[in-house]
Symmetry: C2
Subunit: 102 residues, 2 copies
C-alpha cells in the first residue's frame, strides 16, 4: 500500500469549502476507479512545540499500489492539478510513501 | 479527532527495525490508554516530481481529542522522546492537525 501525502504550506490563500466539497470530490471520483482506497484531510493547528504549523492543510491518499498511483496520475492528473489554483496559491509538496504498518 | 504527524527528515541515521519493533510499540503501550486510537508508519520513497523525499519516515498518530494528546504527552512524553536517539539522529518535525474528513 502507498500513502501519497499532499501538503500545503501555511501562509497562502486557501478556500477550505471549495477544497473539501469540490476538489476532494473530484479526486475521489477520478482516482477511486484507479486504486485510490481512502482519503483523509487534515488541517494544521500548530507544531507540538507551540510554533505555527508548517502545513495549513494536507490530504493523505491511500492507493493499493505504486502502479495504481502512477496509472491514476497518468489518466487524470492533468485535470486534478488544473483544479488546484481554484482554491489555493500554495505550492503543494507531494510525497510518495510506502505503508509499513497500520 | 486529532492527527499528530511525526516526520523524520531524510539524510540521517535511522534504525527501522528498532523503530518499528521497539519505539512504536512503546508509543502504543503508553499512549493507547490515553486516547491514542491508531498508528500508521510510512516510509518516504520519493517526491511525486521524482526528487528525493523530504522525509524518510513518518508516524501518523490518531488521538480522540487534543485534550487526550496533551494528557498523553504530559504522562509519558519524556520517556518516549528519550527513546528517539536510540534509532535516529534526525530532528523530528511534529505537527498537530485536526481531522476534517476521513
Amino acid at each position: 500500500m502507498i500513502l501519497v501525502t499532499v501538503m500545503y504550506p501555511a501562509g497562502a490563500r486557501f478556500d477550505v469549502d471549495y477544497y473539501l466539497s469540490k476538489h476532494m470530490q473530484l479526486v475521489r471520483d477520478r482516482w477511486m476507479p484507479h486504486g485510490l482506497k481512502s482519503t483523509q484531510v487534515v488541517k494544521g493547528l500548530r507544531k507540538a512545540d507551540g510554533g505555527a504549523p508548517d502545513y495549513q492543510m494536507a490530504a493523505l491518499l491511500t492507493f493499493e499500489s505504486l502502479e495504481a498511483f502512477k496509472a491514476a496520475g497518468k489518466a487524470h492528473g492533468k485535470e486534478i492539478f488544473a483544479d488546484i489554483p481554484k482554491f489555493t496559491d500554495a505550492q503543494a509538496s507531494v510525497q510518495i510513501n510506502e505503508v509499513l504498518s497500520q
